[in-house]
Subunit: 891 residues, 2 copies
Amino acid sequence: MSDKYVYTFGDGKAEGNTTMKLLLGGKGANLAEMSNLGVPVPAGLTISTEICTEFYKTGGKYSDALKKQVEEGVSEIEKIMGSKFGDPSNPLLLSVRSGAPASMPGMMDTVLNLGLNEETVQGLINKTGNDRFGWDSYRRFVQMYGDVVMEMKPESKEEEDPFELIIQQLKEEKGVELDTDLTAEDLKNLVGMFKDAIKKNTGKDFPTDHWEQLWGSISAVFGSWNNQRAITYRNLNNIPADWGTAINVQSMVYGNMGDDCATGVAFTRDPATGNKMFYGEYLVNAQGEDVVAGIRTPQPVNESTKSDPDQKTLQEIMPEAYDELDRIYKSLETHYKDMQDIEFTIQKGKLWMLQTRNGKRTTEAAVRIAVEMVEEGLIDKETAVMRIDPEKIDQLLHPTFDPKAEKKVVAKGLPASPGAATGRIVFHADDAEEWAERGEQVILVRIETSPEDIGGMNVAKGILTSRGGMTSHAAVVARGMGTCCVAGCGNLNINYKSEEMKVGDLVFKEGDWISLDGSQGEVIDGKVPTVTPELSEKFGKLMSWADKMRRLKVRTNADTPHDSDVARKFGAEGIGLCRTEHMFFEGDRIKAVREMILADDEAGRRKALEKLLPYQRDDFYGILKAMHDLPVTIRTLDPPLHEFLPHDDANQQEMADEMGITLEEVKAKVDSLHEFNPMLGHRGCRLGITYPEITEMQARAIMEAACQLTKEGVKVYPEIMIPLIGTKAEFADQKAVVVKIADKVQKESCVNVNYMVGTMIEIPRAALTADEVAEEAEFFSFGTNDLTQMAFGYSRDDAGKFLAEYLDKGILTEDPFQVLDQTGVGQLVEMAVQKGRSTKKDLKIGICGEHGGDPKSVGFCHRIGMDYVSCSPYRVPIARLAAAQEALRDK
Amino acid sequence: MSDKYVYTFGDGKAEGNTTMKLLLGGKGANLAEMSNLGVPVPAGLTISTEICTEFYKTGGKYSDALKKQVEEGVSEIEKIMGSKFGDPSNPLLLSVRSGAPASMPGMMDTVLNLGLNEETVQGLINKTGNDRFGWDSYRRFVQMYGDVVMEMKPESKEEEDPFELIIQQLKEEKGVELDTDLTAEDLKNLVGMFKDAIKKNTGKDFPTDHWEQLWGSISAVFGSWNNQRAITYRNLNNIPADWGTAINVQSMVYGNMGDDCATGVAFTRDPATGNKMFYGEYLVNAQGEDVVAGIRTPQPVNESTKSDPDQKTLQEIMPEAYDELDRIYKSLETHYKDMQDIEFTIQKGKLWMLQTRNGKRTTEAAVRIAVEMVEEGLIDKETAVMRIDPEKIDQLLHPTFDPKAEKKVVAKGLPASPGAATGRIVFHADDAEEWAERGEQVILVRIETSPEDIGGMNVAKGILTSRGGMTSHAAVVARGMGTCCVAGCGNLNINYKSEEMKVGDLVFKEGDWISLDGSQGEVIDGKVPTVTPELSEKFGKLMSWADKMRRLKVRTNADTPHDSDVARKFGAEGIGLCRTEHMFFEGDRIKAVREMILADDEAGRRKALEKLLPYQRDDFYGILKAMHDLPVTIRTLDPPLHEFLPHDDANQQEMADEMGITLEEVKAKVDSLHEFNPMLGHRGCRLGITYPEITEMQARAIMEAACQLTKEGVKVYPEIMIPLIGTKAEFADQKAVVVKIADKVQKESCVNVNYMVGTMIEIPRAALTADEVAEEAEFFSFGTNDLTQMAFGYSRDDAGKFLAEYLDKGILTEDPFQVLDQTGVGQLVEMAVQKGRSTKKDLKIGICGEHGGDPKSVGFCHRIGMDYVSCSPYRVPIARLAAAQEALRDK
């Protein structure tokens, strides 16, 4: 610990700078930096974080050395600001604020207007000629000091602040509504009442000595480093407790001293569009909070942002201050190399900068600003790529609601698939298809969806379910299709029979209009206009830079030629997961599938599979063709067979009629296939092992399509993937079936196809024994949905019931179905990568679970050395960007 | 490779000995050993396993050196046996048998009576004066040689042996039924017909030269090392293919040359009881296979085993041979230090020993023999303990069927809980209770059982289900109760409505008698008398030795004071798993439980839990008292709440009436609790986190009971265990709830209780993050049932559908729910032990899954350093023994 504890700033110089965040905190370092830049910041001093540590070590005592340095610092401030701390005729007023090395917004305490007492308040009034201002400042100070330093603030949020109660009472007595309706006299009375309350509650007098006020505030702010909120926040954000906070003691400036005063906020570029223009708002004779509070309408700072000829710009009314502001914002942006969000105050014609920080912006603006700053030579391409939050570019790819439209949100569910949609309610997939055919926009509303609903889901503008989580059938399929979906909306009461949906007292019937915001999980009553985004040329440029920076390949999960096309346009470099089961539902196929399931013996099953073969071959032909020159991973049948049978009476009867059997026979089959825990039941490779003829048919369909395309001169790279492997023996069994058929088909067609046979790693045991599995498998693809289900023991269809509570209580910080749990599940993934490669050095490894499109998880996949990630088409750009960022971090 | 390939034995000496199994094979080494002991074995030679390797290397060629050594060996045999190989007047006949280092019974080929041709057969006839014997030996040789060497044996088992077809034809022609009805002439004709068939099928003549016969046989036997059966057997038993087999060429001796010949088998002690007496059977003028074939009734070898005064003992009719046999069996037992199973032949008055091996025995005998051999000073206690197969002692603890009773097995299921039971069929748990009350013996027959059936299961003599595996509810509960159970008997068609059970064409109605063999998984028509075993004093002695040798503690899984008592008698050193959910079903409690489930808010739940508290407190009082001085691990509520609600209309109506609500309300609750995969749903600690008041009530009940007992001077060690933990945060949440209540209760009762709060490790993620979990947990207990379910992704309720096929196909070698999968699941267990102890060096660790009673798994638990295993009461002795054996292996 050095013997310098206090660092002053102001008047174009400072003892600290931006690199000293650990010692001066983020705020202190930034104020010093601004001051160094010659920006007029109100002078002040920063007490270093080391003193916070000392404070706790000594039980709140301060050394004489510190006291001396603070006093010297204050006189430096006095010199710069031309006023004197505690001087009744020309008082210097101070603020005391925390400032930790890491941002902890609102977690610690602040004291403003410090230095006021019965004498200095008169000085302030004389100086400003504004007695209301003087008394208002004083009563605010007493209230804040009382709350923070003298601990008048109640511990529980439910109890009202005692000062607010007094104000409330006074307003009632006076019959006024707003604080601003109180007169100077009222405010003066309030000061007295506040002080009485303090005396009564704490037994102590409110301190009149300005130094006592200052040290009391410093101690309170240091003390607030260890309040419960701050501790919890640090725990959640992994901020070390021993960092401590610095304290900034800064001179107060006021934008509300009169009409030669103003206050405002501005952005150095348009935060909505990214347009390069100085963009801001201000109010004359106002405090900062008035600008955002919306009571008075703020005015534009300059001509170019004026939207109404009646508006008065700052440029017009305070041209000198504006010119200085113009100079300053430019230098700030150049210095920080990013769009800045700045706060300023003009006190009696003099401009003061209160804060500058990187400005929040829309994704559209973020992309434009980043690319243009590269073009301007301000930043390099790597920096531009790092600037964009991958998660946010989703907004660029999906329709959104017109931000100006009003929305009546009636329920909230999970934001399962982004975008916005408006349409008429239907409750059955068949109806959705029927309505869509006659040109209606529909929203499909279901308790949950199942593979049978695929047709209806495909034509719906949006999908709403009352059950199921982020990886429920509805969610996964909707994301794949790029269709907006709100899932697991537990407040909905859906009745299929009466075709009604109830939310509280509201009743929606078939045909009623609703709207869904899939990015927010909102269900909205009635129509809301939507805006369809266009991908800008700037976006293309940024992504092309990103692509050159990444190592990880990005594939897509796609089951149709159409999805494959979409994904290719989004930059997919192959298919990482083509599910074959969705194909089983289309048109007549489901009949053959059911025939197979009902068959009593292998011969019967083979007969039914014969009928499916041409369909599947056509499917694969289309997909492999669309993905020419790129690898296509096709998964053999995965879901349990009962998913292909109808579960309600009406559909069972229909099936019985169609197949020419009795309803009882259908019911008996459904019963015999019933499982207590189908997720852990007879599915995946377990089906292929029991019924090798299914795997044979699929292998034949894939290989026949591949051979045909090869003959046609199309380059295809099918990768046949066996799901739900838990042991090497299971994989070996299925691989043998595939290879036998592949050999046969290649001989029959006299061409050779470059194909592979690999496995999903989605069962914990497969990860644990990946070295053995790799002896047979030619590639691994992590199915992290199932792996997460089994590693956590959470059924993704049921976990909604407790996951929300887990997230609320902080038992989980993220939904593990959305963000890969690196601590637990990640161990299995990393272990499998290492074990797999210990057997086969160059084993091709990817991920095809939903996590493949989550930026954090993509980063993890890069770090542990996967070859590619695969995600739904609409998340391909996200994954590309995330992969590039992780590669840059790796450097 | 040395230059000695052939090792002779006979006449009280041998070139090999028992330590040379890798070179001479098991059989060759044993024959040498016997010969060295002075036991009269027919002379012979062993060709070493190295020649087998050579045989495959050279493509079946033999070196001159080998030929010379074989010829020298044969002349050594000739010298000892006093006859000459190929000599028409006094022919030496030989057998050629395989003999691998590891036993591969019946997998390879054998040739007997080698050396016979048209001339030597006459010599044999002249020598024995028995032409039928001569021709019979010859036709057997031609048949065997034809099959084995000349490859006449059809590849498929379905095709009949061509020689058998010829015999069949001849018998039909002659109008006789048995082979023994054929005359010498017939047999002579058969030889001719056999030779013709060989010529016709193979184009080759049957070799008359005795050396050609010998080398042909040797090559055939070496060749059989790589037949498909042998390869499969080696793969299944992990026998290296490069070990090869040795070949034994041994002189033939005959017990069927006349009335001065005999053959027999004997045990050095009674294999049924272990009684120390020479026990055996023999037949005059017979071959070995006649003794076991049961056509003639074998006679007892001596007076003491005579059961009928008419029987002629070997001692009486061949006293000299018997005396020598008596001398030999004693020396063999002393030499091998174990009860021997010996085969002997008396040829023309001369005793020959053909084989000795450790005899198979009942478990009762095994225990008695082992203990008595220690008492005799033959073996030490460690050896005695190692001799008993822990899995087998189950037989000593459960009733068995009278072995003499006839049984008509009508179906087979899983041997879910051992023992035998006979009783009348009931289909409902209520009926079981009602019938039992009026003194009926009942067998409860269910499609599957659920916790509601607990009362009926408790009174049933046996339980039979048509669904569910070895860890299904029925199986687990039955094993806990020590009640016989056959589970997952898929051939049963159970109809609850008509109260009928169909098996094929058989129909069983309520009240019909059936019997169950839970050790074999057999369902038997009608009554079968059972025998109840008594634990012998020898058994107690053996177990007391075992207890001193083991390090691992053995606890029990018990939910009632009664089970606790039983387990204590079996040697349990505490309770490792006390499930609290079973307690929720008894009497009026279920009503309070349902009230809690139906409650709309916390207040309602608390009100219902108040009612449960006294019941639970009494439960724990009883259990803790029964287990005084020993630790008792109590698991908080685990199953999903819907398990406590009725699922059929009738019971739902009854519940509605009882609770004074509508049927619809009951149904709505059941619906709202429905889960797609309840195993991965809202259960375990997830319940306790959502409804902390449940954990609170249970913690209070446990601690109030513990405090009360402490006051009464009873020492109690409750260990409160939180189930289904996947993250440290979950555990911390529940631990805080428990500790808060425990502190409160201890304060209220003014006593301190030595209690702990720990966790199940049953979720893969808990194992992966065990270091974190151990920061909070005071002990770990592995729930390997769930861990296996999740690591494999097998629902134990559904896996029956494919597990059987997996075992059949060799995809799994053992059911992972019965034997812990050390390769996969074991990694998680070992990892969790290491990680847990890396955080807390002395962390107490046990296992409470079903595997805690499986000997192999107990061995694993010992090796990875667990502190204890816990299993159902009836498996406690098994675990004690297995733990001792593993400790001995460890030395």
